[in-house]
């Protein structure tokens, strides 16, 4: 295979990953890495480096739209980014010290969880927790345009959310993914922030989180221009197309089909981890 053919193939795979990632809400990064390693035999570290770059591109592109719509909360995002960026550095440093076989197994487990979560909606968050004085002091509150006018909310259990965010950052740095699923859990389930605000704020945070580990990946030589170029352009193009189609699309059947495919990749990743 020549560089030309390889680049075309990687672009096609990445565009499909970006498209399906946007449609199902899984994100393109978590799909492109197993696709590159399992289908094209790319070393996991190169795949993770390229995927991380694509994560910054898609999240920044999508965040631009969400921030404008008034759903994402910049203050909550900025405050929790202290946790995710510290976690991301820890994860990226950890990634350079543990064997790729272990990385492959962890990746598989995270994929399995992502497949499961994409087909199950999170339980409705309770709102009867005590008010958190920390949330008041840090102004972790806001309002979003709802069906009955502006809906107000204030974060609860700030410390728990902060701790989960550190974990989300670590996974992001370790595996080169956005780990949007875990960020949403931290905000929606732990901090009781409305779901729509949680998902859009999570997207807003992903770029900054990924940028923190990108610096470390770059200096360790994980980001190869020849590979990252088609991955970044492909995932970006695919996710923009996916977001366009998403408006009014019925995604339930697609979601389930796709979750099965992702679960299969997850098992393959875990299996290949044990083979090494």
């Amino acid at each position: 295979m020549t560089v030309r053919e390889f680049t075309a193939l990687v672009f096609l795979i990445s565009a499909s990953a970006g498209f399906l990632g946007a449609l199902t809400g899984l994100g393109g990064g978590v799909i492109v890495t197993p696709a590159l390693t399992l289908l094209l035999g790319v070393d996991l570290r190169y795949a993770i480096g390229a995927s991380l770059v694509s994560v910054i591109a898609t999240s920044s592109g999508a965040a631009a739209a969400f921030v404008r719509d008034g759903f994402s909360n910049i203050r909550i995002g900025m405050f929790l980014e202290i946790a995710t960026t510290l976690g991301a550095i820890a994860g990226a440093v950890l990634a350079t010290h543990i064997p790729t076989s272990a990385l492959s197994i962890i990746f598989g487990i995270v994929l399995l969880h992502a497949a499961w979560q994409s087909t199950h909606s999170l339980p409705a968050a309770r709102t009867d927790d005590a008010a958190d004085p920390l949330a008041q002091r840090l102004k972790l509150e806001g309002a979003f345009p709802g069906s009955h006018g502006a809906q107000h909310y204030r974060a609860r259990r700030v410390k728990t959310g902060f701790a989960i965010m550190f974990g989300a950052g670590t996974l992001s740095g370790l595996l080169g993914i956005g780990s949007g699923a875990l960020k949403v859990i931290a905000m929606d389930q732990a901090m009781r922030i409305p779901f729509k605000v949680s998902t859009t704020t999570s997207n807003f945070m992903i770029g900054v989180t990924a940028a923190a580990s990108a610096g470390i990946y770059l200096s360790r030589g994980y980001i190869d221009p020849g590979l990252a170029m088609p991955v970044m352009l492909g995932v970006l193009a695919g996710s923009i197309a996916g977001a366009r189609v998403l408006v009014g699309a019925r995604t339930r059947v697609l979601r389930i089909t796709f979750a099965v495919a992702v679960a299969a990749m997850a098992v393959e990743m875990i299996y290949s981890g044990f083979q090494k």
């Binding site: 020549t2 190169y46 790729t100 610096g215």
Partner: protein, 121 residues
């Protein structure tokens, strides 16, 4: 300065950064494919990038000397810098809002980001 105004500045900043990065990566990619398209890719074993593609200063040098891979890496650097620029905009925005707690919070995030970009292992 209001939160809404800051949000719209952040949105256009993100959009501009991603578009610029994608354009530079695409430009470098075309040069790369024209020059190296017939070679054989080797990604099955990890070797790590050469030192010139690992650090900001040497990437910029490689890009401006016309190396295709250097131009792609420069585009990727612009992409990585986009969220960093977003945090800088937030520091300035909260300063104009005279919100001291959030100036401190955003400055901490900025310091963490700069540390990861500048520190060499």
């Amino acid at each position: 300065m209001t939160d809404e105004r800051l949000e719209s500045i952040v949105a256009s900043l993100l959009r501009t950064g991603v578009s610029l990065a994608a354009a530079v990566v695409l430009g470098g990619g075309i040069v790369y494919l024209v020059r190296h398209g017939g070679e054989h890719p080797a990604y099955s074993a990890f070797h790590g990038e050469p030192a010139e593609y690992r650090y900001v200063s040497s990437i910029v040098r490689a890009a401006f000397s016309g190396q295709a891979r250097g131009i792609i890496e420069l585009g990727l650097l612009i992409l990585i810098a986009t969220p960093v620029a977003r945090v800088v905009a937030c520091v300035a925005g909260f300063a104009l809002e005279k919100d001291r707690a959030y100036v401190v919070i955003t400055t901490i995030v900025l310091a963490i980001l700069l540390y990861s970009l500048i520190s060499k292992p």
